[in-house]
Each structure stands twice: as structure tokens, then as C-alpha cells.
Symmetry: C2
Subunit: 82 residues, 2 copies
């Protein structure tokens, strides 16, 4: 089973992207872990290390797919106050 991580911050753009990605995914091949920075601010450093510049973003097989644009990671850090 492969793993992908969907990083988001709860914004409307994030929720729409999350819905679509989870609908699309082959659950027999991939587990998609959903990380919401609002409750998992401790995952921000990891996300940035993985190359996430904005949310929503899907980290998959070493690549980051930035999906539409909700907020920059800079804004996420300010708004979430970590």
C-alpha cells in the first residue's frame, strides 16, 4: 500500500480539493493521510521539508501537487500561530 499526504488548512478551496482527491483515489493502492494544520500545526515543518509551498497540497511519491490555491505556507504559519 502506498501513502500520500494531503495537507490543508480547512479553507473552502482546501475542502473542495480534498473531496475531489478522496473521491478519485484508488483506496486499494493508496492511503491518503489528511493533515489539517489547524489541529496538526506540528506537521508544518515536515510539510515544508516535503516541498509544500501552499495549501491545499498533495504529497505523493516524492512530488508535491499544489492543487488550486487556498493560502501560502507563510500565511498558514501566521494564521495558525505556531
Amino acid at each position: 500500500m502506498k501513502k500520500a499526504i494531503f495537507y490543508h488548512a480547512g479553507c473552502p478551496v482546501c475542502i473542495e480539493a480534498e473531496t475531489k482527491i478522496l473521491e478519485l483515489v484508488d483506496e486499494k493502492k493508496y492511503i491518503v493521510e489528511v493533515v489539517h494544520f489547524g489541529s496538526q500545526g506540528n506537521r508544518i515543518a515536515e510539510a515544508e521539508k516535503n516541498g509544500v509551498k501552499s495549501v491545499p497540497a498533495l504529497f505523493i511519491e516524492g512530488a508535491v501537487l499544489h492543487i488550486n490555491y487556498g493560502a501560502s505556507m507563510e500565511d498558514v504559519k501566521i494564521l495558525i500561530c505556531v
Copy 2:
């Protein structure tokens, strides 16, 4: 079977996104039609009508997911000379 459309223009960013999306997709639920504007310039108007502003983009269930950023549709139209 549901249908999604992946619009792109052959750029490296497009190819990476295409690879990841096709790897992720549940083929029992979704058919993903891949439209390359280089050979299917006649699909540009339809893509714009569907809300595509840049490539690569995935049109799914009435929503557009712009995935990373390869080129704007304006640039696509100039470069593809339709």
C-alpha cells in the same frame, strides 16, 4: 463510471501531474480522459468553458483542480497558435 478530464500542454509540470493523477485514480470509478492541447487545440474552448485557467488541470464533477502551474491558458493559446 464517472469521467474526469485532465487538460495539459505537454510541459514537464504537466507530465509529472499527469503521472501522479493517473497513478492515484481508481480506475473502477473514474475514466480520466487526457487532453493534450498540442494535438487537440479544438478542445481549448471547452476547457475554458469548464473553468480551466492554467495547465495542468483536472476537471472533475463540475470543479477544476489546477495542479501546480505549467502555463496559463493565454500562453497555451499563443504557443499552440489556434
